[in-house]
Symmetry: C2
Subunit: 363 residues, 2 copies
């Protein structure tokens, strides 16, 4: 009997590469950049950056924090790494060490900090606010900047709030604001407005650079239509035990499930400690794929290391079987819908857990 | 101006140690063991294990997977490490290398696997089912085991489903089941029934060994009364920008917040990529503590790297300030209530994110 104990995170780098190329081609008049913040959404920033650098000629990367790309920037001196959370006393040393790490400056205060502490005269990026009301210079901030400041920026960028809804009025409003700000303050500066979702909104959203993240990793960033991206992530977990419930038995913490009849259950080795949302309690699903795909429900609370599933209708399930939590036929977008969140959040959690057995698939 | 960019995870090892000692003293007729699975609930398994070994004489530890304690077991040969998810083909090699790692066997199938693959005759632990209906031998499984098997176990254990509710009928039912199983099958084997929550249920729940986890890390595992544990975790995050909303402005992804009047907002550098639950969107709180504690709400969606907060009523907040997400006066238990989950899940997420600045406080 084959007994396994650890969940498996399988990352298909072939599909990831195909997704990047597809998006870059959709926005072929813009320079493609890869978003590798948060460990490339948990999938491994070093591996993803190396792949896209070598196989797709990617030379521009975005991260949230300098510390996320410190080592990658050192080993890829011909690429540029933009840092979306800017620069401060807790990161300036990294900018000092690596000339190819570029802060995205989003406020007058951070611009002042950079001017006073910058190690050299490298050009930096500036973020302007167009409707998301997150980080970025407001137009009132730009009006009081000294005129000669506007020549110092290598990139002017903003970010869409509702790019995942094709006809949302915010998209038209944000591009109008962005075009006005560019014309007024940055007529000759390369511009970037869109992440993955904006790529699907048409060429005027592409500007000079697109920042490709979520969709590269297989997430459907255009949920108003079927996903066009190839699936990148599979999450598998081993069945540790198959046993029975008697009528009336309770299951899991706080006894939130009670069997109304005799049931067969499987205890599976994955839990919220592995990044599976606890909100899947009594809601989530697992699948046994043995030629035919069998579906079963999580019953009771998701605990740190385990889920318990009602497998009454799967006749031949046994300890040692691997079941799918997310797979090509039921992706993390589907799991996220069940969990009441978005796949970005789940992906970001899964990949950072050291007890996963990680498998990278690559030709 | 002091500009910071990274969130801070502060772990108070003094309080953690005091909590362990307090719980061990409450169950003073039992051997205390520390639960360090899932990276000691995200707080750092190596650091926590070393602390409790050296300062509290802890010699018994529980983890979920052998891979979690492989290195710790090698550097602490005089301690015993119990593995709750058992043993299989993906972990047997670690058991071969480290004699002080002991599988907890929870099913006939895994017992068979161990018998066929065990590297030596070390005694192992056995888990029996008493009401949680998770991993464990059912009484029917025990009845058909050969009689000589019962001498081979160094520990018989089970786990409470509702130990966090003092008067829950499940507690009485589980101890009755556990006592019957012990008497019938394991009359001379040391026994363990309770994790932190069970320690508060009285001496008969303590048995021979208590498994101290969540409460050591400051979680209130007895929420029917005020938390008796010292707080261990603080989560701080820097304000990156303070700016204004005009009446009618939308905030964040999918424009889920709209300003009904002029507002002042702070953009703070923490998001679900750092482990802050996205379910805090439009619900969660932050605090500025400058002598007086000021409270503000998260508005709009939590994004991967940022939250946006309505700080209209905090007159002197500015870029560079550190705000509290979780603190001694508003703990992760409180944050979890706001997020619709338990602090265990949040703690498990926070600690595994490399972009936190981690600070360990220790005398």
């Amino acid at each position: 009997m084959n007994i396994l104990t650890r969940p498996i995170l399988e990352i298909n780098l072939n599909n990831l590469l195909d997704n990047y190329k597809m998006l870059a081609n959709l926005a072929k008049n813009a320079t493609p950049a890869a978003v590798i913040k948060d460990e490339a959404y948990g999938l491994g920033a070093k591996i993803v950056a190396k792949l896209l650098y070598e196989k797709a000629n990617c030379r521009n990367f975005f991260a949230a924090h300098a510390v996320e790309v410190k080592e990658i920037a050192a080993t890829h001196p011909n690429a540029t790494f933009y840092i979306l959370q800017g620069v401060g006393a807790d990161s300036i040393e990294i900018f000092r060490q690596q000339k190819n790490i570029i802060p995205v400056i989003s406020s007058p205060e951070v611009l002042k900090y950079w001017e006073e502490n910058k190690p050299d005269n490298r050009k930096v990026a500036i973020q302007v606010e167009t409707g998301l009301n997150r980080l970025g210079f407001r137009e009132d901030d730009l009006k009081v900047l000294p005129k000669d400041k506007f020549t110092e920026f290598s990139l002017v960028m903003s970010h869409l709030a509702c790019g995942d809804e094709k006809d949302h009025f915010m998209n038209a409003k944000q591009i109008e604001n962005f075009e006005r700000i560019k014309k007024t303050f940055f007529p000759n500066t390369p511009a970037s407005l869109s992440a993955s979702d904006g790529v699907f909104l048409g060429e005027k959203f592409h500007q000079n650079m697109v920042r490709l993240g979520a969709a590269v990793y297989g997430i459907n960033t255009a949920p108003y239509r079927q996903n066009q991206m190839k699936n990148v992530v599979r999450v598998l977990a081993p069945v540790l035990q198959v046993t029975n419930l008697h009528k009336g038995d309770f299951v899991g913490y706080s006894a939130t499930y009670r069997a109304g009849s005799e049931r067969k259950i499987a205890i599976v080795s994955i839990g919220y400690g592995d990044g599976l949302p606890r909100s899947l309690s009594n809601v989530g699903k697992i699948f046994l794929n043995n030629g035919k795909i069998h579906e079963a429900r999580i019953i009771g609370r998701v605990s740190m290391d385990n889920i318990i599933c009602d497998v009454t209708d799967i006749s031949d399930i046994k300890a040692g079987d691997l079941v799918s939590i997310a797979d090509d036929f039921y992706t993390l977008d589907d799991v996220a819908r069940d969990a009441g969140t978005i796949s970005y959040e789940i992906m970001s959690r899964l990949g950072k857990n050291p007890r996963f057995e990680r498998i990278y698939i690559q030709d």
